[in-house]
């Protein structure tokens, strides 16, 4: 069962994270903390998602999740990115009952095993929640009229 959690894809992303490091310019930033373990992440986004940058400390699950997030969402059209985000949340909150769609989630499907560990779901979600806040601050997904 533990191999379900620590899949090679996850360990790879953990050891070789994609797009790590905070970059300028950005339009929204959020800092999130997991109060039980002290893990932290900062995520920055531009409003067109042309860049998503992040930094923080955390376990393999949260770090790999950030790397996968970057890989999946960066440079995507906004509606598509939000759909992927939805799918990842659904997978994580599915208690292991949700079948992930590789076409949508790419390497994210490796997190299917995490959903069976309630204590670790928070780790996997940490970067995604920070992204959500950062995106909201950047006005991502808000229609231009409303934004203005």
């Amino acid at each position: 069962m533990i191999d379900q959690l620590y899949q090679d894809i996850i360990l790879d992303h953990y050891k070789h994270p994609h797009g790590r490091g905070l970059r300028d310019p950005f339009e929204g930033e959020a800092h999130h903390v997991n109060p039980t373990c002290g893990d932290e992440i900062t995520v920055r986004v531009t409003s067109d998602l042309s860049d998503i940058s992040y930094d923080g400390v955390g376990c393999s699950i949260s770090q790999a999740s950030a790397s996968v997030l970057h890989e999946l969402l960066k440079g995507r059209p906004v509606p598509e990115a939000l759909r992927i985000q939805e799918a990842f949340l659904e997978l994580m909150q599915g208690r292991g009952q949700v079948e992930p769609d590789e076409d949508v989630l790419g390497d994210g499907i490796a997190f299917a095993g995490v959903a069976r560990y309630p204590a670790r779901v928070k780790c996997a979600l940490l970067p995604w929640m920070a992204f959500k806040d950062a995106a909201a601050r950047a006005g991502v997904g808000v229609s231009p009229e409303v934004k203005a």
Partner: protein
């Protein structure tokens, strides 16, 4: 469905006990209820197989404990119709729940001289003294509803009592001494009008009636596990999330925090913000099992059973010479808690002689001394019923009271 009290009783090991050579007749459930096998077993099973600390571990035992603890919260939330489980804060009893609001109110209500808190003369000390002390600390003024001769809340002064100066009204839902069930609708409406918050002390109602926080319209309710088939050591504060979010922590410490440095701390969202340190984990799980038990029987059915008992008891007691009942004389708008005096015999002596016959009633001021003062007695004798009470129990009480009168003839 007829309520099968014999089947219910079979679940309560203590009901098989003898007291002073007589079968136990337990008429003190308003003080604390007895526990069914299902609750005792759930607690033992947790301690023997799953015990770990919550919210702090990734290991299996910690995860099992956290899951069970949070499942108990969800059960309690569903039981009272809370909008989300996160509105349910576990405390150690009602008293802590009420004090949580009273100690933090100075801050989140910015209380000061000129502000008013309104309670009633019918309150349990646990819903009176915390507000007296809050007023002392802040300079706010305490005011209160009176009680009518029939033992009802006197709402005739509502408009002058609850005014723009009122910041919070805290009222008992069902009186633990008079049995009166208050309908909070008018008070809640008036409080809304003047912008005051409402706390309902549901310590006696949640165990005995269907209670739905949305229907009640209050901002907070408090209740306690040991009166509703659950263990000691666990209570509940329910509050509207929007309000809980504005409140500072109370028993601060482990688990209440977001991040801590020596220089300062930021806090977790509710309910974690208010659950400092290791919570009563086994006790919450026991309360969850109690809620399952009550839900399976149906609160409507339990209430109906108790209404029947109350009608029966009010009649049986009316036949005892020299007996005076305090509180509503008919079962309408009252629960299965009946206080009385036996002419010429002090409650202590009544209780002692009944105990000799295995009949367990409570005597004293019932932590509601102002009610005793209101009715001109230092103490009362109280019989209180629950889902396992039978008409035989009430007959035993009536026979016992005859005996009391003979001893003191």
């Amino acid at each position: 469905m007829t309520f099968d009290v014999a089947r219910v009783r079979a679940d309560f090991p203590i009901l098989g006990r003898e007291i002073n050579g007589h079968p136990l007749v337990y008429l003190d459930s308003a003080n604390t209820s007895q526990k069914p096998r299902q609750v005792i077993d759930a607690m033992r099973d947790h301690q023997e197989r799953h015990n770990g600390n919550v919210s702090r571990s990734v290991h299996t035992l910690g995860t099992e404990s956290t899951t069970a603890y949070e499942a108990a919260r969800a059960k309690v939330a569903a039981f009272i119709g809370a909008a989300t489980p996160d509105e349910v804060v576990f405390t150690k009893n009602s008293t802590e729940a009420i004090n949580l609001v009273a100690w933090t109110a100075a801050d989140f209500l910015s209380l000061g001289p000129g502000d008013e808190i309104v309670v009633s003369e019918m309150e349990h000390h646990s819903n009176l003294v915390p507000w007296q002390l809050l007023c002392q600390r802040t300079g706010a003024t305490l005011r209160w509803f009176g009680v009518t001769d029939e033992g009802r809340l006197d709402e005739s002064q509502l408009e002058t009592l609850v005014t723009e100066r009122t910041k919070l009204v805290s009222i008992v839902h069902m009186s633990n001494i008079l049995g009166t069930i208050n309908d909070p609708a008018r008070i809640v409406a008036r409080a809304r009008e003047v912008g005051a918050l409402v706390l309902l002390d549901c310590s006696q109602s949640v165990p005995h009636l269907p209670v739905d926080v949305a229907a009640l319209g209050a901002d907070f309710i408090a209740f306690t596990g040991h009166k509703m088939l659950g263990p000691t050591g666990i209570g509940v504060l329910w509050g509207r999330m929007a309000l809980l979010e504005t409140m500072p922590p109370f028993l601060a410490g482990g688990s209440t925090i977001e991040t801590v440095t020596m220089g300062g701390t930021t806090f977790a969202p509710p309910p974690a913000r208010f659950e400092g340190g290791t919570p009563p984990i086994t006790e919450a799980i026991g309360l969850g099992a109690a809620v399952d038990y009550l839900t399976a029987l149906g609160m409507e059915n339990i209430h109906r059973h108790e209404q029947e008992l109350t009608a029966y008891a009010l009649k049986a007691l009316a036949d005892v010479p020299g007996l005076r009942i305090f509180g509503p004389a008919t079962p309408e708008g009252r629960g299965g808690t009946v206080s009385f005096e036996v002419d010429g015999v002090h409650p202590h002596d009544v209780g002692q002689i009944l105990d000799d016959l295995g009949v367990e009633v409570r005597v004293g001021h019932h932590c509601a001394r102002p009610v005793c003062t209101r009715f001109g007695v230092p103490a009362m004798t109280r019989a209180s019923f629950y889902l396992y009470t039978t008409t035989d129990d009430i007959d035993a009480l009536a026979r016992g009271l005859e005996h009391v009168r003979r001893v003191f003839a």
